[in-house]
Amino acid sequence: MGVVKRISGCVATATAVKLADVDVICSYPIRPYTGIMSELARMVADGELDAEFVYGEGEHGQLSVVYGASASGARTFTGSSGVGVTYAMEVYSPISGERLPVQMAIADRTLDPPGDFGSEHTDALCCRDQGWIQGWAATPQEALDMTLMYYRIGEDPRVLLPQYACQDGYFVSHILGEVDIPEAAKVKEFLPPYKNHHVLDVRTPQIIGAQMEPKMGPGMQYQRYQAIEGSRKVIEEVHDEFGRLFGRKYNPWVEEFMTDDAEVALFIQGGHAETAKTVVRRLRNLGEKVGLVRLRTFRPFPTQQVRDALSKFKVVGTVDNSVNFGISGAAGVLLTEARTAMYGMGDKIPTVGFVAGLGGEMITHDEFYKMFMKLKEIAKAGKADKENYWLPFEL
């Protein structure tokens, strides 16, 4: 049996990294993800975890260190936040291109400006299309479980892709939650040692990352496309098996909350969903038919599952906690992704985008309440008067 502890998202992630028996860790300080690294440093110093703990010279260096380590057959971990995530941009594509299943935790933080420490999904979303598996945990428990599942998914020989395991800065990374910590022996059973035949070993010399001719480009990119598309099946299998072994059953794609007979719903990802759930519950007590759909896996984007989940409502509002200046719909990527998913149905369901919680501000109960009221208004009118609302200014 595992033990239940009250720990933060950071400590939950670090605990999972220890359970995964990671070999090489590369650090660089930036708030708020730092809490994961300091916990890992402590575990290494105390002899709880046998790993090389490398002091990266920056985030670009961090990703480069794990690139080399993973290519040598080690299980690796790194992480970052905010401008650290974007500083490493060059290295994300080579990592997925060489099919190295490194894991990077991202505890979100705004980019500069505003330069504060607050959480915003912009950092992780900047690198969303680089061939990495990506998703958001909404609680410390989910952060721990996600870390373990992502290693298993990424290292599956049918996938071999890196993973961004994201959690909102502070709202998840620094808030204590009850976490059921699984037994090491059971984790071993779930997560076998990392084996990659495409490694640097003098007994089987290989050339990794040779330069391509343009005519080889399409095939190379097509393989990476097939890998991320093919990961869908593995993601489902791994969530199933995780549920069987540990008793926590997640829908790998979307979590639906009080959506039965709901007429309007919010589509959201990350920890703010937990605040929104309270509002949904209260509104339900008042007889309002509202619901919530939380996206769990962002890459690969579960187009079909999102379509199925959202097409039963009269109106859908997306909550973007990121900036995407100039984007179609003038809100954020969740709006454009949701619309793209729903457009395939030829449905005429109005979608509006809410941009909220920027700069790391809380998205308050009051704000979620206003969003639901706006959705109701649109449902009644049959159409929206505006396609996006920037909070708190426009609602």
Partner: protein
């Protein structure tokens, strides 16, 4: 331990950098690569930051190495090498492999070491990883079509430092001294030397010393580039020799903080003898050549060579 190679005849016959690449005829970096691989032997992993020794050496499924090789970004050779080293340390210690700890060699250009890759290089040495970092100096960003890098000599023509009526000398800046930057300020450094492809025995033995050192070793190898410097392809070795004989390049090792010459020309020749053979210097006026002479004299003095050619 890799033993000292007593003479060129006694050098191993086996090659680990073999035909199958597309470098220019007479390419200095390719010639030194062959010597490095020969000296290092089969228990070696090479890393290739972007540059001529990546681009001109690889095409998909085809590369000239008989040992493992991995591409790195031009920015991160030192960091990727650190990761490989850390991985091998961990997986050997944790009994996840039965492989031996390998020689880990970064083969970076002057741009990938002295400029955009400097941060990763310095960090790897600060952390003390057991790697050999080689900077092959062809004195330009060659692969992008010959642009000035921090080690391009004063007065050299490149496509970013062309000579013209307003800037008659072409490149106006004096070059960065990367080995001296590496020599001081990295307490974990275990070995540092300069070498030239024109002195192959010396070069191979320096590779071995670097690999035998238990910690980070830095080797700075002068490697003339016929295309970038505009000289005939059969003059590469001569060009390397003349660089040393004129004092434009010095061969030394660092011993307990002191520079120890490993080869001293009997007589230092004027730099003009070296530069007159290269098209990249053909626009220089006497006053510019004097500046280059002063530069060579200064560098010679720093490593303890008495200067015999006057510079006005």
């Amino acid at each position: 331990m890799l033993e000292e190679i007593k003479s060129l005849r006694k050098a191993p016959e086996e090659e680990y950098y073999v035909p199958g690449h597309r470098t220019c005829a007479g390419c200095g970096p390719a010639l030194q690569y062959r010597l490095v691989a020969k000296a290092a032997g089969p228990n070696t992993i090479f890393l290739g930051p972007t540059g001529c020794m990546y681009v001109a050496n690889t095409s998909y499924g085809c590369g000239p190495w008989a040992v493992p090789w991995i591409h790195t970004q031009i920015t991160n050779g030192g960091a990727v090498a650190s990761g490989i080293e850390a991985a091998y340390k961990a997986i050997i210690r944790k009994k996840k492999t039965d492989a031996e700890f390998p020689n880990i060699i970064v083969m970076a250009g002057d741009g990938g070491s002295s400029d955009i890759g400097l941060q990763a290089l310095s960090a790897a040495f600060y952390r003390g990883h057991n790697i050999l970092f080689i900077a092959y100096d062809n004195e330009s960003y060659a692969n992008t079509g010959i642009q000035t890098s921090p080690t391009t000599p004063y007065g050299a023509w490149t496509t970013f430092s062309p000579a013209g009526p307003v800037i008659p000398e072409g490149k106006k800046l004096m070059p960065k001294d990367l080995p001296k930057m590496m020599a001081h300020g990295h307490p974990e450094l275990k070995y540092l030397a300069t070498a030239s492809l024109s002195y192959p025995l010396d070069l191979m033995n320096k590779v071995r010393k670097g690999l035998n050192a238990e910690g980070p070793a830095f080797l700075y190898i002068h490697a003339p580039c016929p295309k970038g410097w505009s000289f005939p392809a059969d003059k590469t070795i001569e060009m390397g020799k003349l660089a040393v004989e004129t004092g434009m390049f010095q061969l030394y090792e660092l011993h307990e903080g002191q520079y120890k010459l490993t080869y001293q020309p009997k007589e230092i020749k004027p730099v003009e003898e070296y530069i007159k053979l290269q098209g990249r210097f053909s626009h220089l006026q006497p006053e510019h050549i004097q500046k280059l002479q002063q530069f060579a004299n200064g560098r010679l003095k720093e490593v303890g060579i008495e200067v015999s050619v006057p510079a006005q």
